[in-house]
């Protein structure tokens, strides 16, 4: 678990409110890792692949991607496809955040290689529970070394 303290959580979420709620709930769930918030899909890809304005980014340690499905410029599925299609990033665990529980969408995310799908529940208690699940997931998941 000590290793996990080093884990950088990248949150790709265009809705500032959602981002804030997720962050608050993660903190409340005892997650103290650094959270990097990116507001659109292209920026998330640039950051993860070290391209564009993030070209000069120093190699980060292990990271986890929380990816909203509906992002501007590149949507969640496109981002996922890029991440999973690149040798350097395909081992990064990805948690998809969806607004609806549409089974087809969820199936598509799993087909593209996401590790888990979490529906953003409107019910606040459910939301807390979902985030706590995420916390548990974080403590279990094997984070591959970042080279």
């Amino acid at each position: 678990l000590n290793d996990l303290k080093q884990l950088l959580i990248v949150l790709a979420e265009d809705d500032a409110g959602h981002a804030r709620l997720i962050e608050k709930n993660l903190r409340r769930g005892g997650i103290s890792n650094e959270i990097r918030h990116l507001a659109n899909g292209r920026e998330a890809v640039d950051f993860l692949l070290g391209e564009g304005e993030h070209a000069a980014r120093p190699a980060a340690g292990p990271l986890l991607l929380l990816l909203d499905l509906n992002l501007p410029e590149l949507d969640g599925c496109q981002v996922l496809r890029r991440i999973k299609g690149d040798q350097r990033t395909r081992m990064i665990p990805v948690v998809m955040l969806t607004t609806t529980d549409n089974p087809e969408e969820i199936t598509r995310c799993y087909q593209l290689g996401c590790n888990i799908c979490v529906t953003k529940p409107v019910e606040h208690d459910d939301f807390g529970a979902a985030i706590r699940t995420l916390g548990m997931f974080l403590s279990i998941v094997q984070i591959p070394e970042w080279d």
């Binding site: 809705d15 409110g17 607004t99 609806t100 549409n102 087809e104 969408e105 409107v122 019910e123 606040h124």
Partner: protein
Amino acid sequence: MELLDISRITTRVAAVLSVALALSFPACYFMVSYQFNSVSLAAEAESCARQVSGIISANPYLWRFEQVRLEEILVRRSVSEDPGSRRILDHKGVTVAEKGSDPGWLALTRSQGLLDAGIPAGRIEIRQSLGPLLDRTMLAALLGLVVGYLAFRVVPYREIVRAQKRLQDGHSFLNTVMESSTNAIVVLDLAGGIRMANRRSRELSGYQWQELSGRHYGFLLAGAGRERMAAALAEISGQGARTVSFEAEMVRRDAGQLALSCGIGPFHEDGVLAGFVLCAEDTTVRKRWEQQLQSAAAQLEQSNTEVKSFAYIISHDLRAPLVNIRGFSAELNGAVAELTGLFRGVAEQLEQRDRERIAQLFEQEVPEALDFINSSVLRMDRLVGSVLKLSRLGHRELKVERVPVAEMVAAILKTMSYQIELRNAQVHIGELPVLESDRIALELILGNLLDNAVKYLHPGRPGRLDIFSATDAGGTVIHVRDNGRGIAPEDQEKVFELFRRAGRQDVQGEGMGLAYVKAMVRKLHGQIGCVSEPDCGSTFSFSIPAGSMPTSAHHDKGEHDR
């Protein structure tokens, strides 16, 4: 065919008859005339002989010198005026008297012995030329020929007239067919020259018959069509094709173009290919309609896609802010709870009036506001979810399979056995069909109808449900009847609408069930309705038309594909 046979037979009969007439005329004439001549010659000879015998018996030794009297006897007019000779010979064969000229070898000869008291004293000989008779016979032959020819013409005349009339009838029938046809019909000769063009083809092309007659068809067709036509003609004359179909563009007299759908085939004369018959239909309007239909279908497809994406937008984009409202009101709730605690700690230091006001705000007004926000958000979320579900149902791909409805109803009722027992309800299942339909859709329809029937049973009396069906050629109608609280007449249409609920709102529900049911029945190409009497019960009936399910349902992608 029949016509030809009849005329052939009558022609033969007439020919035989004519020849017989032509031959029998002269033959009969000759025979009759010959007989008559020979008999009259014989009679004449006999009468002469008698007179000469009188002279002989009056003067047995010197009779041969009675030249004048004898010649007088011989000159007496004979029956015939034909040339001939008469002479009297004595018993030694010496000519005693002679009149007339020698008729030559072709003559009819009659002789009669002369007697003198019973002893032959010579003979009288009458010869008559057969020439005139033969001449008349020739005339008779000519007459026979004329009569024979006339017979040949007259005998089959009626048949020929009839055949001709039938031919004319056939022709006029064909003409009527051609002229009244709504398709253009053009007859071409082997070289492609126009031999016939019906009214419709003249209308379509805008040309008069005089302008078309004999011309090569080429000027009527646009480039590609002309080539296809030439290929079709080659196929018929070269490979013996019966009919060839193709599409072509016609160039009208006014240079306008028409789309034609053509069929062309051969016709024969005396068993030999003689030309082609072209039938063409003006498909311009149909083509235009087809295009309009296609564009309408495309528009429908587009608006369908728009509806799908609209449902997605509603469900997704409306839900995103709800997450925030709900999340942050929870945050507010937490903050207020914390503030309340803090306030309790410092409450003593505040004035009485402020303390009461703050306590009221923290403990009543703020929690009340947050409660309203929460319950509204949850309700909104449920509604959005319902719309999304409806949209998903509407676009689900149907899978046709054999569905035994009785088994399905039994399975649904089993899951509801607790509620049914609670309501003290009796369920009667009548005859139910086996349908070729979509299982999930039927399950949803029947499930909702049965659920409603149980849910809205009359609380004051034992419930009774009847599920039964009626099948005819048009399809199947399934009825679900209850003795529940019923629906007021003005509400009976409304119950199928989205979010609409009728009657007292004492039963949990979203008002979506019957909207789903209606959407599903419509998707199965059926109809649904209800007959109800308040306080007596309702019967919901839906129809599943026979053979309405396509074997391959059209594909609808999920609503995420926007």
